[in-house]
Amino acid sequence: MEGLLAAARRVRVNRYIDICLLLFLAVFPTFSSKFRIDVMAGFMAYVIFALSLDLLWGYTGLMSFGHAVMFGMGAYVGGLTNVFQKGVPDFMANYGITEIPPFFAPLTSPALGNVLAVILPGLLALIIGIFIFSSRVSGVFFCLITMALASAFATFTNSTQQYLGGSNGINRITRFALGDGPVDVTQNYYIILAALVLAYLFCLWLVNTRFGKALTSIAGNEDRLRFLGYRTRDFKLLVFVLSGMLAGFAGLLSVRTTGFVSPVNCGLELSTMAVVWVAVGGRGNLTGAAVGTLLINWAESILSEHIASQWQLTIGVILLLFVLFMRDGLVGAALGAQDRRRQKKLREAL
């Protein structure tokens, strides 16, 4: 019994938060309205998106202001794949397009289309990453380039009326199908929850490998790691690609839950919001990304009914407060307190 207690005390505090969060999410549909269940499913897709940003920013120190591009790309590819199953969508027909264009042919297969929703964002990340990391772009320049990417992608989707629906985007996308026809709200909720658990376990595995430790060390002191014989460029490239794929996966899940995608889902706004979620929850521990995403999104959902016009301002103030007074975020602060207590004990024991 004593050994068990000692073992429990060694576990880091965020693992307990993980378990509580999982239990909460598992029982959430039993006491919530259909509407709330659907909203929560969308937020869980956002949590996967935040996890992908945490790998990149929290662990590797690469702060991206354009991560919604990967998310949006997954959403668009997933959305198109879904609407193509019912033939040529209206936004194309309005431009006199009578059959699905040849370059969209792979998306007529649901299986291939959904796989591409994950692969293509990874490919985009690979191409951009090769340019960024071989020219040793880092720090604030990485922020700026990814920010430009977000603007460019949003402009592209906005102006591609006949293929991507322009500013309206793509609508009437249905949920995943199981057997005959789309699943209901609760089934969809549990599909997203299962995907979230898998994505979380994948991230947890990744950051605990030697690869993950190398990523943390890149954030801490990249040159030191290079002198230890690591080709850090390869490491940054791989995490950028994996993170892009995970963001694309989140986009796919999101679009099949909310039923629509538009340029708003791949521009600067969502990119910045993801940075805020991770900053508030705390970066570099995975739990923070989940906590921050759920807190901010529920706050927005509930508060914006009352203070819709001031919501943007409120978010700005929250971010400012966290940057000034709680730089490690909520979960980061809890972990920091636990670490300090442990180190104090260790010092006393020495």
Binding site: T209, R210, T216, N221, D223, G229, R231
Partner: protein
Amino acid sequence: MAILEVRSLAVSFKGFRAIDGVDMDVERGELRVIIGPNGAGKSTLMDLITAKTRPTSGSVIFDGADITGLDISAISSRHGIGRKFQGPNIFGGMTVLENVELALKGHGTLIKALFYRRTRRTLELIAGALERVGLYEKRDLPAGILSHGEKQWLEISMLLAQSPKLMILDEPTTGMTAEETYKTGELIMGLSGEHTIIAAEHDMDFVRQVASTVTVLHQGKVLAEGSIADVERDPRVVAVYLRDDGLESGEGGRA
């Protein structure tokens, strides 16, 4: 034959010649100490050898291969040159053992990093590197809470985990107490022979303790080279570096 041959190496930064035609041979197993006043070019010379900086002209030949201006990671992984920077550069959030594990030779490629497993063999290598510097007992502590001197030793232990042919140590005793400095001297002497070592140092007590060949740098040039006794007697060295009685007090270059 010399393991390291530096040939008419020069680099200028915006017209300032930080290293100006340096020739230097280091024998296999040798312990070479480089001294010189602040700004003499000690760190720059090490940057050039480890490819952190590209030279304007000249070459660095290591173990028969031209390594001038290679990629930093190749210098370490392919040519076996390890470097310890000034001041402790350890990863404070990880444990002492994890720091050495991260440095372990031959796991720096992507695939190996993803599928690395702790085995009895890797643990033995890590334990060996930690025992050399006397930190094995503290292996499970977070590296951040080690004392300043211990952090420096941990970094030397990380170099050992790389089993480098050449170890480059930039001011290994900075900020250490006299006792820690002495212990570091013992440690480095114990490592020489087995490894070739180049150390840049300010602390004259340390230089005398390890009593090896000394290269004196001044304004980017080699001013003198020889045993510590020879160098101490060299009037040119005395004029530029040891004038203020530094050699007697051991406080010479600690400005």
